[in-house]
């Protein structure tokens, strides 16, 4: 791995994409724990969706509304920035009218941000049907890690670790894809933030079907061995790690494991499937993002940024 890639594995610059309703200052504050892992710069981004101000049958383009929404966002960002300056962070902001996905990707490239943080908004069924989900599209098109931030329910935050640090008890779901292995590298750079990692692999029942018990044992050993390798790599960085092998439907088992280990976050590699396959058939990361109550950090395949917006 060359120096350029090594540098990109540290979350130095975070793009915090907010519409305010779903992602507030509390979320931003909790993510400042990443300062311990090299975070230096926060870019605040508010995208006013074009439909809110444009194409009004009676008004055309509603400049007054645009001005009002921008001013509103600006006031909030100034307030947030002051707090961030006090902690020694560099801060920048963008307030634009456009499309959440494309404007986020444009800003990420322009700012060379290392991490995108976005919240999940509830969408009506009909809205989802015709325009899909911004987060799913962002995951598909982004070549930078995306953290889908969710507030953990209060009963999950009984210990201070979970309440203060969303990365403290991480569940790493692996399938040994390049993106998953990249996720391991990212976790290594976050050793001061991540306290405990549970590495799990969910084996498909199909892999075990019709196989003799000897073969099953052999398969189990082989997979455990590979999980242990990941654990050893993380332990070497000082991160406490345990490995677990599950059998079943991936999403169900990952969520089950997250609950069992009282995880604060799920980390996994992106699926790398096409947007149409993603939309109609789905993928494990997509379903985790949609269904899981846990924040999810999705690491994409390492690619160049030149075609990021394609």
């Amino acid at each position: 791995m060359n120096n350029k890639n090594k540098r990109s594995l540290v979350f130095r610059k975070m793009m915090f994409v907010t519409q305010f309703e779903e992602l507030g200052f509390g979320a931003l504050q909790s993510l400042l724990v990443l300062r311990g892992a090299g975070l230096e710069h926060v870019i605040l981004l508010n995208v006013i969706e074009r439909d809110r101000v444009a194409m009004h049958r009676g008004l055309g383009y509603d400049k007054d509304e645009e001005r009002r929404l921008k001013e509103q966002a600006n006031i909030r960002f100034i307030d947030w920035a002051e707090s961030l300056f006090e902690t020694g962070m560099e801060v920048g902001d963008y307030i634009v009218v456009g499309n959440v996905v494309s404007d986020t990707l444009e800003a990420v490239v322009a700012e060379d941000a290392d991490l995108i943080v976005i919240g999940q908004r509830k969408r009506k069924m009909i809205e989802f049907f015709y325009s899909g989900d911004d987060i799913i599209e962002l995951l598909r098109r982004s070549h930078r890690p995306v953290l889908i931030y969710k507030e953990l329910e209060s009963n999950s935050c009984t210990d201070t670790c979970l309440a203060d640090n969303p990365f403290c008890r991480t569940l790493l779901a692996v399938d040994w894809s390049p993106a998953c292995l990249l996720a391991v590298e990212y976790l290594k750079t976050m050793k001061t933030v991540v306290q405990d990692v549970s590495v799990i692999h969910v084996a498909s029942p199909k892999e075990l079907k019709g196989t003799s018990s000897l073969d099953i044992q052999k398969l189990r050993k082989e997979k455990r061995g590979r999980l242990e390798e990941i654990c050893e790599a993380l332990e070497a960085e000082g991160i406490h790690c345990r490995s677990h092998l599950y059998v079943g439907e991936p999403v169900t088992e990952i969520l089950r494991a997250a609950k069992e280990f009282n995880a604060s976050m799920i980390v996994m590699g992106s699926s790398g499937t096409s947007v149409w396959r993603e939309r109609w058939i789905g993928s494990t990361p997509r379903t985790i993002v949609e269904k899981s109550p846990y924040p999810a950090l999705i690491i994409p395949h390492a690619k160049e940024d030149t075609d990021q917006a394609e």
């Binding site: 074009r50 439909d51 444009a54 194409m55 009004h56 049958r57 009676g58 008004l59 055309g60 383009y61 509603d62 400049k63 009218v97 456009g98 499309n99 996905v101 494309s102 015709y130 325009s131 599209e137 098109r141 149409w276 917006a309 394609e310």
Partner: protein
């Protein structure tokens, strides 16, 4: 009233209207419930023995017998419906015309509920009184008109949204006029919305160094977003509704002389205006920042899908693959096949076109979603109006049929209403007025065939009125307000709703239309 309660309020008003219909039964005066008693035994009998599905088919059979029959012995729904049954339709159109102006924020967020409200006000009492026949009429207009209408608009919008014209143009009078001509030609083949969305941004970019740009965008609305779309059923929604009701695909080429006449006059006027302003501003010249991008079309493969759409629409008017029943409604197999093919074209465009192109086009689903929501309300509420008009002099709208008698009447009445109300339902209203006037009670296709031949001048008047006058105001045709919005976002000041009409439509459009009507009608 909270907006979320609108549909419930609609249901309540509908129930009250239904109660009123029943209460007025037997008093004469053309109440809804007075006549259908005659048809009830048929429906009740089927109800008892064959269930709801058969009831609908039976109702359809009764309906078609009524429509096709000429002896007057059968019950004809259009002859019995009271005049005020068109009130929800009028309110629906007036809501679309005025609520965006009077309550723009409310409208932007709740247009779907407003549409549902008026649809409920019409549909509930209509269904309560006429049961199977009413259900048939509603299903018929939804399946035979709404579905193909919205599928065509969606596919054209989706496919044309995947084409992007890049590059740096210098907005001289010649270049601008050429762009307007190209846009007007394209409009008939990719829809006025498609052509307008394809060209408006390059047009604005080319002229962003010019001081006077407002008139350019207004003429763009006149020519590309409206008048250019008059040559084929794909061009403008009213013409596609005509096509769905039996007007042949190429019949609209009969409007070519009218279109050329109006188009050439407007282009000449535009060119002169542009030249005058250009010469005044010439001292400034365009800024040369050295960032000239060569002209190029991205997503050019989408033209194949456009050809597919044209071919499918054309083929559906030529082939005859028989009919199938869908929820008791007869529909031609080729019509379903066409709709499925158009959906396929749209999906293929979405799959094969880079997101970047749609992003750069600022592509958003909002306009088509708005049209989909509004038109379901428009089509449902217009059922009584169309039935009464089809009944001709025997219907409650006989006064309209009797007063609109000359082609020039059709042109201006269709036009002026199209200018303020949506031009698609207005077209259908006067199309049916003409059918009711000349061929009352005749089967639709036979009547339309005669209208296209022996009374073609009336159909030309209706078609040109609906399409040309769509440019009269921002709300006459969907692309108008979209172009306005894009222009304003790009920093081009646009006139207000009334400013547009008083400064431009009344000055440039109406005199041209008057001259055209004197020559052609």
């Amino acid at each position: 009233m909270k907006s979320g309660r609108l549909p419930i309020a609609g249901i309540c008003i509908g129930l009250v209207m239904g109660f009123f219909f029943i209460a007025t039964e037997g008093r004469g005066g053309g109440a809804w419930a007075a006549e259908p008693v005659r048809s009830e035994p048929v429906i009740s009998e089927t109800n008892m023995h064959e269930g709801a599905g058969s009831e609908l088919i039976q109702a359809a059979a009764v309906h078609e017998e009524n429509i096709d029959g000429h002896d007057g012995a059968h019950f004809n729904l259009g002859e019995t419906l009271p005049l005020w049954s068109v009130i929800p339709f009028a309110c629906m159109l007036l809501s679309i015309a005025f609520m965006p102006l009077l309550a723009p924020e409310f409208w932007h967020h709740h247009f779907g509920k407003v549409s549902a409200f008026w649809a409920a006000v019409m549909a509930i009492p209509f269904l309560a009184i006429y049961q199977g026949i009413a259900l048939y009429e509603i299903l018929h207009i939804l399946l035979a008109d709404y579905v193909p209408f919205i599928v065509l608009l969606w596919s054209l919008y989706t496919v044309s949204g995947g084409i992007l014209l890049r590059g740096t143009l210098r907005g001289t009078p010649l270049v601008n006029t050429t762009l307007l001509i190209i846009g007007a030609i394209l409009a008939s083949w990719m829809g006025t919305t498609g052509a307008a969305m394809l060209l408006i941004r390059p047009f604005l970019r080319a002229n962003d160094y010019r001081k006077s740009r407002t008139f350019m965008v207004v003429f763009f609305i006149f020519l590309v977003a409206n008048i250019g779309g008059s040559l084929t059923p794909l061009g403008d929604p009213p013409l596609f509704l005509g096509f769905l009701h039996g007007v042949s695909f190429f019949w609209t080429f009969n409007i070519l002389p009218h279109m050329l006449f109006v188009g050439v006059i407007l282009l000449v006027v535009y060119f002169i205006m542009d030249l005058i302003f250009y010469r005044k501003e010439a001292a400034d010249g365009p800024p040369d920042d050295g960032t000239k991008e060569p002209l190029g079309l991205d997503g050019v493969h989408n033209f194949l899908f456009l050809i597919g759409i044209v071919g499918a629409v054309l083929a559906s008017g030529i082939v005859d693959w028989g009919e199938i029943h869908t929820f008791g409604v007869h529909r031609a197999v080729q019509d379903w096949a066409r709709d499925a093919f158009l959906v396929l074209m749209g999906i293929l465009s979405l799959v094969t076109t880079s997101f970047k192109i749609r992003d750069d086009n600022d592509f958003t689903w909002f306009p088509i979603v708005e049209v989909a929501y509004l038109f379901v309300g428009i089509f449902i509420t217009m059922v009584p109006c169309l039935l009464i008009l089809k009944a001709g002099p025997k219907g409650e709208l006989a006064f309209l049929i009797n007063s609109v008698t000359e082609p020039v009447h059709y042109f201006f009445v269709t036009g002026l209403l199209s200018g303020f109300l949506d031009n698609a339902p207005t077209y259908l209203t006067f199309f049916n007025t003409a059918l009711g006037s000349f061929y009352p009670g005749m089967a639709e296709q036979a009547a339309v065939d005669l209208l296209m031949t022996e009374n073609a001048i009336f159909l030309k008047a209706i078609s040109t009125g609906a399409v040309f006058f769509g440019a009269f105001s921002y709300i006459g045709n969907a692309p108008n307000f979209m172009v306005r919005s894009i222009a304003e976002e790009a920093g081009t000041p646009m006139p207000s709703f009334f400013g547009y009409m008083f400064k431009y439509s009344l000055i440039f459009l109406i005199p041209t239309f008057v001259v055209m009507s004197l020559i052609f009608f």
